[in-house]
Amino acid sequence: MTSQTQPDDKSADSTRATEMLSGAAMVIRALADEGVEYLYGYPGGAVLHIYDALFQQNKVKHVLVRHEQAATHMADAYARASGKAGVVLVTSGPGATNAVTGIATAYMDSIPMVVLTGQVMSHLIGGDAFQETDMLGISRPICKHNMSVRRPEDIPYLIKKAFHIAQTGRPGPVVLDIPKDMTMPNQKFAYHYPAEINLRSYQPKLKGHSGQIKKAVTALLGAKKPILYAGGGVIMGSASNELTELAKLLNLPVTNTLMGLGAYPADDKQFIGMLGMHGSYEANQTMHHADVILAVGARFDDRVTNNTKKFCPDATIIHIDIDPASISKTINTHIPIVGLVQPVLTEMLEVLKQKKKKLDSAALQQWWQQIDQWRAVHGGRYDTTAPLLKPQYVIEQVSKITKGEAYVCSDVGQHQMFAAQYYKFNKPNRWINSGGLGTMGFGLPAAMGVKLNYPDADVVCVTGEGSIQMNIQELSTCKQYGLGVKIINLNNGYLGMVKQWQDMNYESRYASSYMDSLPDFVKLAEAYGHVGIRVTTPEELQPALERAFALKDRLVFLDIHIDPKEHVYPMQVPGGAMNDMFLSKTERT
């Protein structure tokens, strides 16, 4: 996706120096020069000049969503799958505010994204003009950076700057606010797209400190009960291979966070599952009892640590992260290493290979025996004898039929946790979910963004009847662009995770967690021009899945009626340590 057409040498420069473009044309041209293929958006008054410029070229293709939130999630999911920034174009006022949830979603998960928002004419700003909102003010706390255009000739520089900031260091969304008068079609300026940007105030660290890396290796080799705890930084930092090599070299147990699923292959015997609130019994036990924790691109989120005061009492913590502010934020780190995960792990591997000292193999063997005992305690069991369909079973079957290789885009709730626990992610960038913000409505647009960019891949949207209705209108966009997403709607008639908490903490008083008057999802899918299949018994599941995945180019909406009483387990006991867990409705540690 790096541009081949970009004028990065002098001869190219001189031939292009005289090219005169309007601000609107510059926006689109800069995106083309950046190598952007798809722009997700929705037109409106303030961006009409830009849309007109878009119409008059064919390098950048536009995807018209039905609600701006979906545009942001499409761009976001593309970024999660590809590692490159997704790009959004929306109008001022409501167009921009509708994008806010999507920007915040990307921000919480450190996803690179460039959001172009229209703005009213410069001279009207501050006067409560029609469709005016202070988008810089609104987006400031939920994006990595934001900027506005003050002179049309700055547009190429600002767009390059936006991509630079979004994609380097700890990635994140960048908002560029463009007043309409910056894009006037009849005012033309010399166009030059900078090959690179150097900001004196923004110089993200890349390599780790070699002394710290050596210290970390020494600590790791002295461990008797080590664990590798890997997060989303490994995925966005493309360091899966290095992580796997390190784990293999030292025979370390590996746990992935919700954001890190796929960073280490789930089918490998050293993988002990996800950790945290709904982590596996063995992952949480192993963490709690570890003497050395190597945290890689993870941020000790509250959904991982449980009570920070009781967190892993015996552990020496090594933490590799690109963001110094993530180090010792919630949990004190003993050996911090600031840098990109990939070069740091590479250097760590080099140091390790030169060392004569090895891990204490007897202690490690004992540690693995202990871990295997923990594995036997829960092992992701669920009731397989019940007559009603179990959500866990559905996910297992989806995992099987797609051989663990599909892109799984999830919404938020119980179904998300079941997907995280029971789908076997063997590759990075395949599990796409809103981990930090927990945005219901994320799943379908996310699946669309992935399917558009990876048309030959199986793309699954795991959702529930609550989440899917938050962006159901996008079924129309799917039809327009022929996006053959497979929707696994785990329908239990309840906002399942809310209901689970109400069962556990509110004596089953289901305050507003039951949805009456649900639509007939099969008819609804058909009304949008798609295929709908209802599944109500375990026997119907297999043939329905086979039919759905055989229909390669069609969107298939599988409305799967599951046991409404099911809870997600294990679940950490609030206020407890990592290893304080409920294991079922009747058992706890």
Binding site: P141, S148, S201
Partner: protein, 163 residues
């Protein structure tokens, strides 16, 4: 613990709002804030007085540094430094009190910079503690108005916070 944090910031619109917003969003305290352009008009120098435990102060420094427009951050109270704040105080000064206020201002090396038959306006420069002490020392003198700049700070010796 009280800390004085100096920040070198790109002198761009929105940069200050982003910095102040950070404190509100993350629940950090601002006791005082003082900002102006430097000799290089593209840079602003900001002095921020805050308080918190070591972990909070460390996070404040790191989070400030994360802001794209922040060029440099330094906790100048970690080493030898000079701190100055400007205060303007308007007090009622008539009868016997008039002499007493003048004496008090002299003791604190303040200057009376505006006079009416019934008031004095006093200018005082010093550490924030000294300004607090002056207010205390005014005792029963009726204070009509107080304006304080917030502290500005600079490291002692050859250490600088510059590009």
């Amino acid at each position: 613990m009280r800390h004085i944090i100096s920040v070198l910031l790109e002198n761009e619109s929105g940069a200050l709002a982003r910095l102040v917003g950070l404190f509100a969003q993350r629940g950090y305290n601002i006791d005082s804030l003082n900002v102006a352009a430097t000799e290089d008009p593209t840079l602003s120098r900001l002095t921020l007085v805050t308080h918190g435990n070591d972990q909070v102060i460390e996070q404040i420094s790191k989070q400030l540094h994360k802001l794209i427009e922040v060029v440099k951050v330094s906790d100048i109270s970690e080493a030898a430094h000079i701190e100055r704040e400007l205060m303007l105080v308007k007090v009622k000064a008539s009868g016997n009190q008039r002499e007493e206020v003048k004496r008090c201002a002299d003791i604190f090396r303040g200057q009376i910079i505006d006079v009416t038959p019934a008031t004095y306006t006093i200018q005082l420069v010093g550490t924030s503690d000294k300004l607090d002490a002056f207010i205390q020392a005014l005792g029963t003198t009726p204070i009509m108005e107080v304006v304080r700049s917030g502290a500005s700070g600079i490291a002692r010796g050859e250490k600088t916070l510059a590009l």
